[in-house]
């Protein structure tokens, strides 16, 4: 059914009735990612509209300094060791991947000569390999040529478990071979419908073989180039102080003409997001500020202040603030662990309670009063597109209906106003990390629940504990020793399949796997597992998209999770700075085309 609709929509794009961008938006609305949606279009023979960068300067250099403020500063500059995005951004100044994701989810070649697809023979029809042609005459900052050997080396380096690279997930299941000095072929172990992972985007930055070759595996920490990067990027390394400052200067032999525009680049770290917003938007001391996790109200006030010198730039990405409902019993210990899959949640095992919870999340208020422009209410993995919405992707806030559902299911109000049934009281504990918007959201949910006769006890945990991987601490989010919890999960992986893995019954987080499993909610559904398996092996992107959408509906329909808002990433920029930001890649993905308007 969904597949049929998808094909119809693709036809509409081909005939020009629906724009490419609108198509991508709709796909994102169904829980897919923009890069994935674009791959649908490419597959249907509608190759990318070459959205060339809008770059005005006619010569390289002359732009003076570019000053950026990152309130979390990079601590290391080797992309394969990046812990978190801050390190990736720092590395991205100097290193480049073969291709990057633009805001619409198109692949843009960077170190590659072209993006592989079926027509140009880059992508094998059987889904077992992909061939990348590398750009000619690209030089490392030290003058050595960039070749296929460098690409192959990066695979060996990241895939080696002794290196303990954080990028290893993208490289361990592939093999890379040299076809000629400027061509490499990636071979996959199984049919891989979504191949644009290794060497692409945030995990794809390529480091030079000649400087890292001697430091592979166990002694990878000792490489001097970990701190003094030599890349292919638009800016050359000048200075690095971990946790404080990264400095670079213009790469005079950059492989694109007339670029880059700025003479020097500086990335300063430390402090907090609010004062970073001030330094860019209000006082203009800096040109760019990263990840302004600040209440929208404050941002609006800064933008409207007397002679404001900057603006905010908000881009859609894949971050979803969502509430998880525990499928297991968090209050009974079985074999030394709570929330064991051998148990069932005493209250949520009643579908009526789950459906009622879904009706009790007032997303409109959360959006309006808490997140503003930085979060959009969603009942799906984003606000559902009008024409394409299936019934179960719509969200509503309806206390009456929730009351009615609970009443029908036999949950009667007690003398204290809290409902109960068979001696069980309808009270829940709701945990999240300490973060002001989250506490406000908790309060909104609690208020609505009380009106429906559900008692909610709120719990907030320090983020450093809540998000740690400490197996001994019961308060981490993977232990989930609680009825409900809320946090943001990133769908930044361009392939939605990775995101869906968190609902597989084989991925359940438990004591046996030291709570490393991705399935935190312990939600299980045999149909879902089957669909996932099918999608993992499906080469026709349209069929795969249909499967993924159906999986999404399963999770949201029989709620394992209740999506709340779709969080966007917010940057601060001076009025003159021109930069394209993408929600599917690092913010510095297009640094080479950044410039300042006179």
């Amino acid at each position: 059914m969904i597949e049929h609709q998808l094909r119809g929509l693709l036809a509409a794009v081909r005939e020009g009735r629906v724009s490419r961008r609108a198509f991508v938006h709709r796909m994102v609305g169904l829980g897919l990612t923009a890069p994935f949606a674009t791959s649908l279009l490419t597959h249907a023979g509608m190759a990318q509209s070459a959205a060339g960068a809008d770059y005005k300067p006619t010569k390289a250099g002359g732009g003076g300094p570019l000053k950026m403020l990152f309130w979390q500063a990079p601590t290391l500059l080797n992309p394969h060791f990046a812990v978190g995005t801050k390190d990736q951004e720092g590395s991205r100044i100097f290193y480049e991947p073969l291709a990057a994701w633009d805001p619409d989810g198109n692949l843009v070649p960077v170190l590659a000569a072209e993006v592989p697809d079926i027509e140009n023979g880059g992508v094998a029809p059987d889904g077992m390999s992909v061939t990348w042609k590398l750009k000619k005459d690209v030089q490392w900052h030290d003058g050595r040529p960039f070749t296929a050997d460098d690409v192959i080396f990066n695979w060996e380096y990241a895939a080696d478990p002794a290196t303990a690279a954080t990028t290893s997930g993208s490289y361990r299941d592939i093999t890379v071979e040299k076809v000629d000095p400027l061509t490499v072929r990636l071979r996959f172990k199984s049919r891989t419908p979504f191949w644009a992972d290794a060497f692409v985007g945030q995990f794809g930055m390529v480091i030079p073989k000649h400087l890292f070759e001697a430091y592979r595996g166990a002694n990878s920490r000792e490489a001097p180039a970990n701190l003094t990067p030599v890349g292919t990027g638009p800016y050359r390394f000048v200075d690095f102080k971990p946790g404080d400052l990264v400095k670079g200067e213009r790469n005079q032999s950059y492989h694109l003409p007339n670029r880059p525009y700025f003479d020097t680049i500086e990335m300063k770290g430390g402090g907090d997001a609010v004062s970073a917003a001030r330094a860019v938007i209000q006082t203009g001391e800096y040109d760019y500020a990263w990840n302004l996790q600040v209440e929208d109200e404050i941002l609006v006030r800064l933008e409207n202040s007397r002679n404001a010198r900057g603006r905010t730039e908000i881009v859609a990405g894949g971050n979803i603030e969502h509430i998880q409902l525990n499928s297991t019993d968090p209050w009974t210990e079985v074999d030394g662990e709570r929330s064991s899959i051998k148990t069932k949640h005493p209250l949520f095992s009643d579908p009526a309670v789950r459906q009622a919870m879904k009706l009790l999340v007032d997303r409109a208020s959360v959006e309006k009063y808490i997140y503003g422009r930085t979060g959009t209410a969603t009942g799906n993995f984003v606000n559902s597109p009008q024409r394409f919405a299936s019934k179960n992707t719509r969200w509503e806030f309806n206390i009456e209906r929730a009351n009615q559902l609970l009443e029908e299911a036999g949950w009667k109000r007690g003398s204290d106003g809290i409902r109960g049934k068979d001696g069980k009281k309808l009270t829940l504990v709701f945990q999240t990390s300490i973060n002001e918007p989250r506490q406000k959201t908790q309060a909104i949910v609690k208020q609505a629940c009380q009106k429906a006769g559900i008692g909610v006890e709120l719990k907030s945990i320090t983020p450093s504990v809540y998000f740690s991987s400490d197996t001994g601490n019961p308060d981490t989010y993977h232990h989930f020793y609680c009825d409900m919890q809320m946090y943001t999960t990133g769908m930044n992986a361009p392939d939605p399949g990775v995101f869906m893995r968190q609902f597989l019954s084989s991925e359940i987080s438990a004591k046996a796997n030291k709570w490393q499993g991705r399935n935190i909610t312990r939600w299980r559904n045999a149909d879902f597992d089957k669909a996932y398996k099918a999608a993992d092996d499906e080469l026709d992107p349209v069929k795969r998209a249909a499967l993924l959408i159906a999986m999404n509906d399963m999770v949201v329909g029989d709620p394992g999770v209740i999506p709340v808002v779709y969080r966007r990433s917010v940057s601060g920029m001076s009025h003159q700075l021109r930069a394209r930001l993408s929600g599917w890649d690092n913010v510095l993905w297009d640094l080479r085309n950044w410039y300042r308007e006179a």
Binding site: L69, K241, S275, S468, S469, T489
Partner: protein
């Protein structure tokens, strides 16, 4: 004297050991680990965090980890940061000059304010100026530095737009422009720390002088017909400031911790901000090293204070 010094230094060894044991255990028992970020990222396989934990020895028992740390430390190896993979001593040395500059500057400024104001308000006790100085002193040490820091930023950077509020360790200028830029960006953090310090010192100087000013030898000095300036500077201040000198020495370590907050507000890349970011990232080797340096400073400055005291006041003997 040298025997006294030796004994004091020997006593310091067990206290440093004790401090390091307590620090290490508390850090090891504290929740969180440096690879928490990896765990929340769906693209990073869980084995990576596990491999890193084993590689950095985080899964060993606490006692064993402590012994490793201690033996390395005795060999002069401070270990390396889990987060940046850089040697800890390099990180600290990178950050030290800025902290010394800011703290040194603020100490000097604080003394320049506290000495004249304290002496003056004691000599002219209960005058209008004395009352004003008292009032300001009370305000000064009641306001925490993070508050005055924000206040300064709001006033001087945002409303008046005179001073930058982001501190930069390497200014891209040479010669006089460099000094001028450095001066401009240092004013606010130095002033914030100095005013806080000066406020309490003014009170100490004042009471020190008040105690001395009534003594007979001062009256004698005045009776000899010495000018008031000489009486105050040579006869009163010299004796009155003995306790103040030790106080300044004792407060040095406290100042380092006071600088932590200030460094965070102004983005000063000093030791304090290094400590904060290390704590937030659960970067144990860095936290250990920085707190250990602070502990050494406390012990060292205590010793310095004791020695100074005896040197200034010959009535005190070392035993």
């Amino acid at each position: 004297m040298s025997r006294y010094l030796l004994r004091r230094l020997l006593i310091a060894v067990p206290s440093l050991l004790g401090i390091s044991v307590v620090l290490f255990t508390v850090l090891a028992l504290a929740p969180g680990d440096p690879f928490g970020d990896l765990a929340t990222n769906p693209n990073v396989p869980p084995e990576v965090a596990a491999a890193l934990r084993t590689k950095f020895g985080l899964d060993d028992p606490i006692a064993l980890r402590y012994l490793h740390w201690l033996t390395a430390m005795l060999h002069g190896d401070w270990g390396f940061s889990f987060v940046s993979h850089v040697n800890v001593d390099t990180l600290i040395l990178q950050r030290l000059p800025v902290t010394l500059l800011v703290i040194g500057g603020s100490q000097i400024l604080a003394l320049l304010i506290a000495l004249p104001v304290g002496v003056y308000s004691a000599v002219r006790a209960h005058s209008v100026l004395d009352h004003v100085a008292n009032l300001l002193a009370f305000i000064g040490f009641s306001l925490p530095t993070f508050f005055t820091g924000l206040l300064f930023i709001l006033l001087f950077s945002i409303y008046l737009d005179w001073l930058p509020f982001v501190f930069r360790a390497d200014i891209a200028a040479t010669g006089w422009t460099w000094y001028w830029e450095q001066f401009k960006q240092s004013i606010m953090p130095v002033a914030v720390l100095a005013l806080f310090q000066a406020a309490s010192w003014t009170r100490y100087v004042r009471s020190g002088v008040l105690e001395v000013i009534r003594l007979d030898y001062v009256t004698t000095a005045r009776a000899k017909g010495l000018p008031e300036r000489v009486v105050v500077i040579k006869h009163i201040a010299r004796n009155a400031l003995i306790p103040v000198v030790t106080l300044v020495a004792l407060q040095m370590p406290a100042l380092f911790s006071g600088a932590i907050v200030t460094e965070q507000i102004f983005r000063i890349p000093g030791i304090g901000s290094l400590l904060i970011s290390a704590i937030l990232a659960n970067d144990t080797p860095v936290i250990m090293a920085v707190t250990f340096v602070f502990a050494c400073l406390v012990i060292l400055f205590n010793l310095v204070a004791d020695i100074l005291y005896g040197w200034l006041d010959p009535r005190i003997a070392y035993r």
